[in-house]
């Protein structure tokens, strides 16, 4: 099994950061595992973390009255789960659940926020990278919203 540092270094999200910056980030990280069905976090709870998925699939779900939990998105290996730790009120908007057994790196949001406050260069780097994650997520959501399969016939 690879070390935590290696996982962080190899992640495309953190690509290009200096060794020093990676170490700062690594200081806020820990390895975590979730069994299939287990919750990573719950809608409405305080968001003090984000996850880099290493194995398995994490679903973001919302509970819809009459329909039960609806999965709005799944996030797989190499992808980031969670950006609510970045912006007030630091609250999860969806529930995160392990679809199958999940291994991930968990980052302590409060710890990272403190380091970003102390080191604005690191803060800028991280914010830029999360902006990319958000843009990708937004584009995908827009396409999803178009409900493009509704009228297509082959």
């Amino acid at each position: 099994m690879r070390t935590l540092d290696a996982v962080i270094t190899d992640s495309p999200v953190f690509e290009g950061l200096t060794q020093e910056q990676l170490e700062l980030i690594g200081g806020c990280a820990s390895n975590v595992g979730f069994e299939a069905g287990e919750r990573l976090f719950r809608e409405g709870d305080r968001a003090d973390a984000f996850f880099l998925v290493r194995h398995g699939l994490v679903s973001l779900e919302a509970y819809v009255p009459n329909r039960g939990p609806i999965t709005v998105e799944t996030i797989g290996p190499g992808e980031i789960v969670g950006w609510s730790w970045l912006v007030p009120p630091y609250m999860w908007h969806f529930t995160g659940r392990a679809v199958d057994d999940v291994r991930a790196v968990q980052f302590d949001g409060a710890c990272l926020r403190r380091k970003c406050d102390d080191d604005p260069v690191l803060g800028y780097e991280l914010l830029t990278r999360f902006a990319l994650v958000l843009v990708d997520r937004l584009q995908a959501t827009r396409l999803q919203l178009m409900d493009v399969y509704g009228d297509n016939v082959g």
């Binding site: 999965t71 709005v72 799944t74 190499g78 995908a140 999803q144 409900d147 493009v148 082959g154």
Partner: protein, 270 residues
């Protein structure tokens, strides 16, 4: 060209409003259809619709067509029962250039009812599996209940030499697969973009996003093929309806190399 009578040999419900018909010639058969090509299917007294072949090319004279109940004609065709007759003209259009992928990785990207036009090409590649590198199928649907050819997809997924990822736009708790648009599967799909060929079918907007993601991944535009759709009346390039800029889709397509079609897709309402 007049339709030839075919009999509905088998009929399978794929989803709530999508059906697969297997057709056998009553007497005379059309030429052997190739994956990517289409026929004009005629429902007696109602009319004709262009429908892609979704059959395994090894099936010979048996035609397989999958369609959604969308208009009068397709509703009529989907209502046909085994033993009923339908008319067939074709085969029309061009085929997937599967041979250009020989020795390379093959990436199939299907959105919604875009899987049927690719199914024959998947069969073709798997029938000559050793001739290709990695084989990847990325399939996106609206919801789990609207996925077609589930048994095929499950069989391909269980093979060790095919990478299959399925995703849906929305799902309930019982769905244990991916949720999200199919383009999201492209960045982490296991293929070498420098040495791969991609075949993409789905709604035009989905093909545009998929093409962008594949090119971003490093796939050359010349290695990317899509299948186009427009209104068709004749199937043979004579009625004018399916033209899009410099091309008649029934005659020059429906399969196009991405860089040839892209400029015309960028002009709204062309």
């Amino acid at each position: 060209m007049a339709p030839l009578p075919y009999v509905v040999a088998r009929k399978r419900r794929e989803t709530r409003d999508v059906w697969t018909l297997e057709l056998e010639p009553v007497d005379e058969a059309i030429e052997q259809i190739r994956p990517g090509q289409f026929t004009m299917l005629y429902r007696f007294g109602v009319g004709e619709a262009p429908i892609s072949s979704s059959g395994d090319p090894e099936l010979g004279f048996r035609l397989v067509h999958t369609m959604r109940e969308a208009g009068q004609v397709t509703r009529g065709l989907c209502a046909a029962k085994p033993g009923d007759l339908v008319g067939v003209r074709g085969p029309f259009g061009n085929a997937w250039p599967v041979d250009t992928a020989r020795g390379k990785d093959v990436v199939f990207v299907a959105g919604g009812i875009g899987l049927p036009p690719l199914r024959g090409a998947v069969y073709d590649v798997l029938a000559h599996r050793n001739g290709f590198g990695r084989v990847v199928l990325l399939y996106g649907g609206r919801s789990p209940g609207e996925l077609v050819f589930r048994s095929d997809v499950e069989r391909w997924r269980s093979r060790l030499d095919v990478d299959v990822e399925v995703t849906v736009d929305t799902a309930g708790h019982d769905w244990r697969g991916n949720v999200g648009v199919v383009t999201k599967l492209i960045p982490r799909a296991p293929f070498d973009p420098a040495n791969a060929v991609a075949f993409v079918v789905g709604p035009e907007i989905m093909m545009r996003f998929a093409a962008a993601a594949l090119i971003e991944r490093g796939l050359p535009q010349e290695s990317l093929w899509i299948s186009m759709e427009r209104t068709m009346r004749c199937g043979v390039g004579l009625c004018g309806h399916c033209q899009l800029g410099p091309t008649l889709i029934c005659r020059d397509g429906p399969v196009y190399r991405w860089d040839e079609m892209r400029p015309w897709l960028e002009v709204a309402a062309l």
